[in-house]
Structures are given as C-alpha cells and as structure tokens.
C-alpha cells in the first residue's frame, strides 16, 4: 500500500519536473503525452490502491519533516476510503482534462509550462486528499494555491489576468491565516498536528478550544472554496485557460475546503456551532452564487458563480455532519461541472474567443450538435432534473438540512431550496440563450475539425453526469446506496431521519427544477428574442468585490503610502536626523565656546562651577 500511495504522488511530481527540465526540447505532442501519461499512471495507482483497501484505514509515514521540542511534523498519510475515492476522482477528472488540454493548447507556445503546472497541481491536490499531518496538508493546500495563481495568470501578457491570479492567491491566503492559526493552536494544545492524533484526543479537548479551532479551519475552507465572505476571487479566476477552470476552479481545488471539513469531521462533531455556521454559510453562498449567475453574460462567469453556489451545497451537507452526502455531491459536481466548463471551452473557441452567450445562438447548436448534447447532459445534472446525478446529490444535501433540528438548519434549507430553483433558471437561461436564440450580432463561427476531437474525452463525463446518481440513490427508491455503504465504516453513518426526509425533499427538488426550467423557457425562449439585461448589482456579484476594493485594498494601499512618507520618512527618520542635528548644534556651541574671547569662556566656566556647587550644597544639606 505504501508503494502504491507513494507512486500515486510520484508520477505527477515526476511529470512536472520532467516538463520543467526539458521544457525547451519537448515537442508539443511529447509534452502533452508525457503529462497525460503521468496522470494516467497516477490514476492506475489510485485505482489499485482503492482495490486493495479494506475498511481499516492505513497510516503511512513517508518521512519526517521537522521535529523539535517534543513535536514533530511528518510526511504522513491517512489513507482511508474517503481519501481513496477522492484520489480516484481527482486523477480521473484530471486525466480527461489533460487529454482535452492537449488539443485545447494546440496553438499556444508555452505548452510545457502549462503541463508542468497542471501536473504539479495534481501532485499538490493529491497531498491534500491524502495527508494526515496537517502541516503536510498545508503544503498541498498552499501548493494548489500557487498552481492556481500561476495558471490564472498563464496568459501573462495581459496584466488583468496576472492581477486576477494575484487576487486569487491573496484572498485564499487570507483564509489560510485561519489555517495557520488553527494549526498553531492544535499543536500548542495537543502537541500533535495529525488528523489521527486529533481524532484520538478529541474527547479530551474542551468544547471552547474545539470551537475556536473549528471556526479557524472553517474560515480557511471558506477562502479555498470561495464561500462567503471570501468568494469574490473565483469569478476573476476565469482569466485562466478553460481546462484550468474546469480542473482547478470547479472540480478539485475549490472543493478542497469542503474536503478539509470532511476530514476534520470528528472535530466538527464536538463543535456544533461550527457545523451550524458552515451549513448557513453554505446555503447562503448557494443562493448568492445562483443569484449572481443570473446576471452574467460571460459563459465562464456563469459557471464560476454556479461553482460557488454548488460548493455551498457541499458546505451545507458537511455542516450537517453528513460526510458521505457532501462527498457524493462533490463527486457529482466534479463530473458535471468539469464537463460544462470543457464544453464552454469548445463553445468559446468555436465562437472565436467570444465569451458572451448573447452572441452565440442556435447556429452553434446546428454546427456542433454533439457539443449541444454534451452541454445538455451537464445542464440537466447541474439543474437537478430528476434522476440525474445532481438531482440525487443535491436532494441529499437539502434532506440533511431539513432533517437536522434547529432554526439555523431550517434557514439553511429554505435558502438552499430557493437557490435550487434559481439554479434551474440560470442553467436554462444559459442553455436557451447560447444554443437556441437568434442573436442580432452573432460571433463568427470557427470550423475546425480539432474542435470535434476535443469533445471525445467529454463523453465519459456526460455519462457520469447523467448516471452517477445511481451510485447513491435515496432509500425510497429501494436501490442499494453503494456510496453510503462503502463509506459507512469510515465516516459517521447517516442518521435515519435524513432517509425519511429524502422522499419529501426529492419531490420538492424535482418540482423546483422543472418549474425553473419552465420559467427560463418563458423568459428566454427563442421566440422572445432574449437580450441581455443591462449590467446591474447581480452582474457585479452584489458589490462584494467592489466592497473589498473600496474598503480594504484601497485604504491599505493608502495606509502603506501614508506610513512610508508620513511616519517612516518624516517621524522616525526625522527623529533620528533631529537628534543628529541637535548634536551638531551642540558641538557648534561648544566649539564657539572654545574659540571665543577668554572672558566668555571664563564666565561660562564660573557659571558652571557655581551651578555645580549649588547643586552639591542642596544635595548635602
């Protein structure tokens, strides 16, 4: 098992190193093949490892990192069934995205840099999936952040891309402060920084400490997963190449925050406030994302807000303590959202780099019927039309919320249900506008046989988007919930009242999805010749980004300048220079005394002697 896990990590890293080392001599085809092979080998190792995995988790230590004063951090791995499935999901989606990328990047000259970062990203993501030691996990956590930063700014000739990358890194880094603080508190409190160690000592931990640590980790997770209030970096992150958006900003990295909460489930179990907060944040973000997606024209920004919204549902489930439900939605989302992003990539290339859905229209569907079919599969799953994967997985998260007692969870359910309705509306708005409408000012279509080749890796994802729900169907259907059973020994099993709530919720969910579809048809059907609404509050993400710019970034920059010119140069340096000037004046005075007329010198001396004597006299008496 150790070998398999090590190999799983080794292949992507080796791939990245090879790409970097031979970046000049690799041909385009060789570079793409090498990268895809590395991921395929990693996927094979992941599959073999899952195949051999029993219920009991494996604790593997690959080496020691740092050790001091009774504390040590190791390159240690907790390989359980959750981690096993996560690694398979990550490597599987990553492999398809690599295959797609090989064609997508057919005209870009920096392909070696691209594949290097992509492989490196998979390596760091696998560390997140596997790591037991929280310090080791942090390495992956920051590592994916770095790859995301580098890939958002991949087309760096245009400065906005670069700034978007920096913004993403900095905003997630704000969240990471929570991680570092939590890490330091965990180590200071328990002397160990591993998930297993934390779990073993969880009963001895006071609730207050657990709640504090939980909130800090939740803050970190919000940053990574683009949840409120740290969500505004993700829409800008769409400046990167589309496969990157599919892999990093939809399927894997943004779900790392939820995954962290799943791994820390024992901690959340004894800190109920954290769970409730996570659920409410998740549901509120789901609604926020869905509402903002309504106001976008850029296909990638619609999908980005949709990602924010869908990850919110995962937070909701994780906050309710339903790890297998959250993971179910994570997987389903990884499949349908990466599918949708890659479809969007083809749409954009077919329309000559045009992102605006109001300039695509029915011609695109007629020119590329296969593409439309793929899109329809993804859209059906995202909008949770009955029996698709998204239907079951989203229904499960809502059932968690309603089955959980307490007003916070009720609020979360209501927010989530409204968001589910809006989801269907914005998905079919996108669908009808981009594939059915007849725009007045259409973009020119590109006919390139390569575009059709890019569709090929997407069919498995389309099949999964439609059918993956049957891996974990709700109880009332009478089928075996395979995922729940598989994870039963690893995570807390599902409480029975969730199963009872599921029938009710799935019905509501179906009604919401279908009515959303109908509303979208009413509003955006081709006969109405839909035109884009003028940009409003929804387009700007309800002003969250502007708020940060105006109230945090700009004042900080002003403060920086003020401190530098005002405090540092004038006050502090001024004081030092003032002291120097004072000394200089003093020395001038003394020099004048020495060179003055004898009478002045004498008077001064006598005066000083008199003062001294007076002082002595006063002191002695």
């Amino acid at each position: 098992m150790t070998t398999l896990v090590a190999l799983m990590l080794f292949f992507p890293l080796a791939g990245a190193v090879l790409q970097a080392a031979f970046s000049r001599s690799l041909s385009r085809a060789a570079s793409g093949t090498l990268a895809a092979l590395a991921i395929a080998a990693s996927l094979a190792a992941a599959l073999a490892a899952v195949w051999n995995l029993g219920v009991a988790p494996h604790e593997i230590t690959l080496g020691q990192w740092l050790a001091f004063d009774g504390f040590s951090a190791n390159f240690s791995i907790l390989y359980n069934r959750l981690a096993g499935l996560m690694t398979v999901t990550v490597t599987f989606v990553a492999l398809l995205i690599h295959l797609y990328s090989a064609i997508y990047m057919r005209e870009d000259t920096s392909f070696a840099r691209y594949f290097c970062y992509l492989n490196l990203f998979v390596f760091f993501m696998l560390i997140i999936a596997l790591a037991d030691d929280l310090v080791f996990l942090f390495m992956g956590w920051e590592g994916v952040g770095f790859c995301s930063f580098a890939l958002i700014g991949f087309w760096h000739e245009e400065l906005p891309n670069v700034d978007a990358g920096r913004k993403a890194f900095l905003m997630t880094r704000v969240g990471d402060l929570g991680y570092v603080a939590a890490l330091a508190i965990v180590i200071a409190a328990s002397g160990s920084a591993s998930i297993t160690g934390l779990t073993a000592q969880i009963d001895a931990m006071p609730t207050a400490t657990a709640t504090l640590i939980g909130f800090l980790f939740l803050f970190a997770a919000c940053g990574k997963s683009a949840q409120l209030p740290l969500s505004s970096w993700l829409p800008d992150a769409m400046a990167g190449p589309t496969p990157v958006s599919a892999l990093i900003h939809a399927a894997t990295m943004v779900t790392a925050g939820v995954y962290l909460l799943m791994r820390l489930e024992p901690l959340l179990a004894i800190a109920p406030d954290v769970g409730a907060t996570a659920a409410v944040i998740g549901a509120a973000t789901a609604l926020y994302g869905a509402a903002c997606a309504m106001g976008q024209r850029d296909v990638k920004r619609i999908l980005a807000y949709s990602t924010i919204s869908q990850v919110g549902y995962m937070f909701l489930a994780a906050g309710c303590g339903d790890v297998s439900g959250a993971f179910f939605h994570l997987q389903a989302h990884a499949f349908f959202k990466s599918l949708l992003f890659m479809v969007a990539g083809i749409m954009i290339q077919a329309a000559h780099e045009e992102h605006d859905i109001f300039r695509m229209g029915a011609r695109l569907r007629r020119a590329m019927p296969g593409l439309f079919l793929l899109f329809a599969c993804g859209a059906a799953a995202l909008s949770a039309l009955p029996l698709t994967s998204g239907y079951f997985s989203k229904g499960r998260t809502l059932a968690d919320a309603i089955a959980h007692p307490g007003p916070a969870y009720l609020l979360a359910f209501i927010l989530g249900a409204v968001a589910a309705f809006l989801t269907a509306v914005y998905v079919f708005r996108l669908c009808f506008v981009a594939f059915f409408s007849d725009p007045a000012d259409p973009a020119r279509l590109l006919s390139d046989p390569e575009l059709a080749r890019m569709e090929r890796p997407l069919w498995p994802l389309a099949a999964l988007a439609l059918g993956y729900g049957f891996v974990n169907p709700p109880e009332f259907m009478g089928l075996k919930p395979w995922l729940d059973v598989y994870l039963a020994g690893t995570v807390t099993p599902l409480p029975p009242n969730v199963e009872h709530a599921e029938f009710f919720v799935e019905m509501i969910d179906a009604v919401l999805a279908v009515s959303g579809l109908l509303l979208a048809w009413l509003l955006y059907r081709p006969a109405r010749h839909p035109v884009a609404a003028p940009a409003g509050a929804l387009t700007a993400g309800l002003g969250l980004d502007a708020f940060y710019r105006t109230w945090i970034a700009a004042p900080y920059c002003r403060l920086s300048a003020r401190l530098w010119r005002g405090v540092d140069e004038d006050m502090l340096d001024g004081a030092a220079m003032g002291a120097a000037t004072g000394l200089l004046t003093l020395s001038r005075v003394a020099a004048r005394l020495g060179s003055a007329r004898p009478s002045t010198t004498l008077t001064t001396l006598l005066g000083a002697a008199a003062a001294l004597l007076t002082w002595l006299a006063l002191r002695l008496t």
Partner: protein
C-alpha cells in the same frame, strides 16, 4: 594557546581572510585578485567543515581556544562555538565566495580594495559570532563597521555618502552604549569572560540598565522598529555584495547579541521587558510589511521586508520558549539565505538594466526564464511558502507564539499575509507584463551567476524539507540558555506577576547553583 581539538579552527577562520587580505595588496591584475579571493572563500568554506562535527549533546562551548591577551586588564583571547553561533559562522563563510562570484562583473573600480573589504568583513563577522570575551567581541563588532562603511561609501549608489555616514553613526551610537554595558559588567562581575559572566546573577536594578544599553545597541543593529530607518538607505545605496552581507550577516548580529548577552546576563530584565520587545517585534512585522507594499525601488522593498522578517526573529527570541527561540535561530539562517539570494539577484538585474526601479525591470519572464525561476523561488521562500526554508522558521515562531499567548499569535499571523501581498506584487511586475526597457543584449543567467545562486537555492529546499537536522543541533544550546535563565530568575525570587516596584528591590546572589555546571562543561 589552549585549544580543544588540537587545531584552532576558529582562529584559522578569522586569520585566513586577514592574511589573504594582506596578500591581495601585492596583486596587480584584477583577474588574479578575484580568483585569489574566490579561492580563499572556498578554502574558508572547507575550513568550516570541522565545525560540522559540533556535538549537540557535548559541552556548552566547543572548539574553544583560549590565550593570554592583556592580562593586566583581564582580557583574554577566548573563542568558542555553540548552537547559537554555529550556523551564523557557517553562513558567513558561505557568503564570502558567493559575494566574490556575484560581484565578478558588478564591481569594476578599485577591485583590490573591494575584495580587501570583503575579506576583512568576513574575518570580523566570524570573530563577532565566535568571541567569548566581551572586549574581544566589542573589537570585532566595531571592526566590522569599517569595511561595511567603505563598501557603501566607495562602491555605492548616487547617495552613498549620506547612506554610509547614516549607517555608520546610527550603529556607532548604539555601540557606545554597548561599550558602557561592557565596562559596567567588568565592574560588577569582575571579568570580561562571557562564560564566567554567564555564571553569575546580578541585581535587578543593574540588569535593567545593562539590558537597556545592550538592547538599544542590538535593536539598532537588527534593526527593530522604530530604529530601522538607516536600513533602507543603506540597502538602496550599497553595492550588491554589500547588501547581501548586510542582510545575511550584519542584521543577524543584533539578534545574536540578544541571544548571547541579554538572555543569559540580564535574565530578569529580559523577562520584565519581553512584552515590550514582543510588541515592538509585532509592530515591526506589520509595519515593515505594510510599507514594503508601496515601494517602487526593488531594493527598498526588500529592505522593508527585512524589517518585517527580523520582527519574526525578535518575536521568537522574546517568547523565551524553546519553540520560539529555535524558530528564531532558524529564521535568522533563513533570512540570510533568502534575502541574501534576493539581493544577489537584484544585483544581477541592476547589472543588466542599471536601474532598481520596478517599472524599469518589467516583463522579464519571457526573456530570462531561469532568472525568473530563481527569483520566484526566493520570493516564495520569502513569503514562507510551505516546503521552503522560511516556512519552517515562521511556523515554529508562530506555534511558540500561540503557545505563549494566543493573542500574540493572532497579532503576528497577518504578517504572513502582508508578505504575500508585496512579494507577489514585485514578482508579478518583474516577471510579467509588458517589458518596459528590455534590451536584447540582456542575457539570462550565465554559468557564473547560476553557480552563485545554486547553493542558496539548494539550501532553500534543503532546510525547507529536512530542517530536523538543523533543529536538533541547536536545541540543546537553546534549552541550556533558557534553563539557566529560569534558574537565575527563580534564585532571585522573581515571579511572573511581581509588580515592577518589588522587582526593583531584587538583589541577586552572585552565583547560582546549577547554572555554572552547565556552562563550565566547556573547560577541557
């Protein structure tokens, strides 16, 4: 002369550059001067190898050398190495050949004199870290100012006169206070020998004055907020090698002074004033990070970032816990490597563009990929990316902070964020965007430059991924220092929540049982 290991390693390390410096004066050709100094530098590094035999569990001071110097005044020639100084000496020796290589084409005038200064600097710096006699320490401490002053004043930028005099006077002002403290210790303790002084405990009132004088001298050197204003000026004007030495070694002398003198000699005052020092450190972390963001001069940006990073070091020291102090020592080493590397690279950039402004050095990623790879590596190390050296040091300090008092931790954590903000801004401007003044004649790193930076880059990863070795080497020394400190404070009757008025009355017994045993272990 008494030596512990038969061969006087430390003396050899100090004398070799001196002899070489004299020999330089007889050389004519520039190429000979450079090659000769490079050879001496490599020899110096090889001479350091015996120091790697330092036994963590052995005596407190190892590689001890003792000889008569001025017996009438009680001064001895006394050298030794312990966990606090070991890595500083190694770093100093490593920097000599790298500085020679880095200045190979940068320095074109007065080549002999330049290398003469470099050699003197190395000798004096090693002396500072190894001296175990207070006067000897002071001699080296002052001796090192002169070559540094010359490096800035002769080979510096346009405002070099102003910067060099400011640097010289500012640090000299601190040093006079240090001299006063040294004399006072001779009066009260009766000796200049540092190990002997460490065995005794002093009255609280005396400790406060001595601590005040020493702490001010060291705080200027570090430099701690608000005594840092000489640093940006000196860095901006200094030549590349001067900046490297300044950042990598000179600044460490201040923090080394805190560890070597303040903690063992004035333990009660250190503990009393630790909250103040922690507050200043955190102020420095936030303040330095905040100001660095607005800079347009690359060197000034790194200089202000140094204020922030050194804030982490002093924070670690004054947490007075094993975790904090080990993190601090590691961070001293890391800052030397990372910031040294960055200054070296800025020097290489300056050779190409003759400007240190960010706006003149934009968009180089496409043309100088190897340069940007290394620049990115050091930048990410500077913002404490996990897997690089600085992460380990910073995390140790932060863990120590949270263990001591969570509020200190919460106050220091944003420093990590600020570092990311200004380093990314710098890195992105320099790497990406439209090249402002790129000329095709600029070349990517040549072999010589690559060799200059490779050791530092390797150390970034080595310490980042396998720091366990470094920590276990220094830990016993740290624990010994802290244990002695606690023992002295307990013997004095100092308790944690004692009001200052009561502390003021504490008069210490002159010798504390247990402390002297652990320090005396050095005598063979």
């Amino acid at each position: 002369m008494m030596t512990q290991n038969g061969f006087p390693v430390v003396t050899a390390l100090i004398v070799l550059p001196l002899i070489a410096a004299v020999a330089l004066l007889f050389m004519r050709r520039e190429w000979t001067v450079r090659t000769f100094t490079l050879g001496v530098g490599i020899l110096e590094c090889l001479l350091c190898l015996p120091l790697l035999g330092y036994a963590p569990d052995g005596p407190a001071f190892q590689f001890v050398e003792q000889a008569q110097w001025l017996p009438a005044l009680g001064m001895t020639y006394h050298m030794g190495v312990d966990g606090l100084s070991l890595y500083m000496i190694l770093l100093t020796a490593l920097m000599l050949p790298l500085c020679v290589l880095g200045s190979w084409t940068y320095i074109a005038k007065r080549v002999t004199e330049f290398h003469f200064c470099l050699l003197l600097m190395t000798s004096a710096c090693i002396g500072v870290f190894a001296a175990l006699d207070f006067v000897l320490f002071y001699v080296f401490w002052e001796a090192m100012l002169v070559p540094m002053y010359l490096l800035i004043a002769v080979w510096g930028g346009p405002r070099r006169r102003y910067a060099s005099i400011k640097f010289f006077l500012y640090t000299l002002a601190g040093s006079t206070l240090l001299l006063a403290a040294i004399v006072a210790f001779r009066q009260v303790g009766g000796t200049f020998s540092i190990p002997e002084l460490m065995e005794k405990s002093y009255a609280f009132k005396f400790q406060v004055w001595a601590f005040g004088a020493m702490a001010l001298a060291f705080a200027i050197k570090v430099p701690m907020f608000p005594f840092h204003t000489w640093l940006p000026a000196a860095h901006v004007e200094a030549p590349a090698a001067g900046s490297v030495l300044l950042a990598a070694i000179l600044l460490k002398m201040g923090t080394y002074g805190f560890l070597r003198f303040c903690l063992p000699l004035t333990p009660a005052a250190t503990e009393t004033f630790a909250p103040l020092m922690i507050a200043l450190s955190i102020a420095g972390i936030i303040y330095g990070g905040c100001i660095a963001l607005g800079q347009t001069d690359i060197k000034k940006l790194i200089a202000y970032s140094s204020v922030g990073h050194m804030g982490f070091v002093t924070l670690g020291i004054f947490l007075l816990s094993t975790k904090g102090v080990s993190g601090a020592i590691l961070q001293m080493l890391n800052h030397g490597i990372t910031t040294g590397g960055l200054f070296m690279m800025i020097g290489l950039l300056y050779e190409r563009s003759h400007s240190r402004e960010i706006s003149d050095n934009q968009g180089l990623g496409k043309f100088m990929p190897i340069f940007m790879f290394l620049f990115g590596l050091f930048s990410f190390s500077s913002l404490a990316f996990p897997g690089t050296n600085s992460f380990v040091g910073e995390v140790l300090v932060l863990i120590g902070a949270f263990q001591g008092n969570p509020w200190i931790g919460f106050a220091a954590v944003p420093g990590a964020m600020l570092a990311a903000a200004y380093m990314l801004r710098l890195l992105q401007r320099v790497t990406w965007g439209e090249p402002a003044s790129y000329k095709p004649s600029w070349k990517d790193l040549g072999l010589r430059e690559w060799v200059t930076l490779a050791p530092l880059a390797a150390l970034v990863f080595y310490i980042g991924l396998a720091p366990a070795l470094a920590i276990t080497t220094i830990e016993p020394s740290i624990e010994r220092t802290l244990a002695a400190m606690r023992a002295k404070n307990t013997a004095m009757g100092l308790t944690k929540d004692m009001p200052l008025a009561e502390r003021w009355l504490l008069t210490g017994p002159l010798a504390v049982a247990g402390v002297s045993d652990s320090i005396r272990k050095e005598h063979p």
